[in-house]
Subunit: 146 residues, 2 copies
DNA sequence: GTATACTCTACTATTATGATAGAGATTATA
DNA sequence: TATAATCTCTATCATAATAGTAGAGTATAC
């Protein structure tokens, strides 16, 4: 799994919205300023998140963005996968990995699968409600412990 | 963690060398053919692995590549980190992450740290001896189980 | 009707990735 | 010693991903 700037910004933005859940819409400008993200870049990211069903928007005066669902219904893993793609360490599809034609491939594939599972277990067990609570209470978020 | 083609090829190549550990050197051509890697690309990769201290070479006739240490002394994680860089899901260094200046950052940082630890636990517990044995015995490699 | 705020398409710059090319250096051995 | 086999090194190139920027357009509250 690799988190890009875009992904990082998306996560911060959804957390911002989660912290204001239930209130009036928040403008792109406000969020961009708070998280120090270029406004025009954040515009693109929010349009993407809207297409993904994570946020909704209101145009015009008193417009802005809102979460499309409750923070408790948005898993961290969902957002990561949507913005930055699959969590697997290597693309196991396509011609290079279309089958277990040689034994080397299979040996490593099992390992990538295990890394994938361990990662998923962490990011899919955390919701934005957890993250928002963690911020409000100023305590580290609880993650799946090995 | 993201494994590139270069990384994938490097791992396969070291496994190939591990399977022939103790024998005479293996040529780039042989390895490239067996793993279906472009020869010139594999040349670059092997030079890199040599600089990393993983392999050594013999020039001239009857030349080729050998492992620089026993397969049991080469961890999977070492090679991955050397070829494809840090295992962390996000670059937590540099100006963007130079300090815990805002609370959002810290919330996520804990999570990336946990993903990092879970991943490391898997890839650092496997050596190329384990992988070679796994190939020879035709059984999946044992990985750290959650 | 106008200011505010989202929407949409297109464009650009930089870097990483995945190679390829070709001349050079070293070594075994006939 | 000649030569074939093999690694070594520097440079170059093509494509895609990433990280933005630009600007005209649309909707809404007041």
């Amino acid at each position: 799994m690799r988190i890009t700037y875009k992904g990082d910004y998306a996560l911060k933005t959804i957390l911002d919205l989660a912290l204001h859940y239930g209130n009036s819409p928040i403008t792109i400008n406000d969020m961009a300023r708070r998280a120090d993200i270029p406004t025009k870049f954040l515009e693109q990211i929010l349009l993407d998140l809207k297409r993904g069903g994570f946020v909704e928007s209101r145009r015009g005066k008193i417009g802005g963005y809102l979460l499309a669902k409750a923070p408790s219904q948005i898993k961290l893993g969902e957002v990561i996968r949507f913005v930055d793609g699959p969590v697997e360490p290597i693309a196991c599809t396509g011609k290079k990995y279309s089958g277990c034609n040689d034994v080397y491939r299979c040996v490593f594939r099992k390992i990538w699968q295990d890394v994938f599972l361990a990662t998923s277990k962490i990011i899919d067990s955390i919701t934005f409600e957890d993250l928002a609570k963690s911020v409000k209470d100023k305590v580290p978020v609880y993650t799946y412990q090995i």
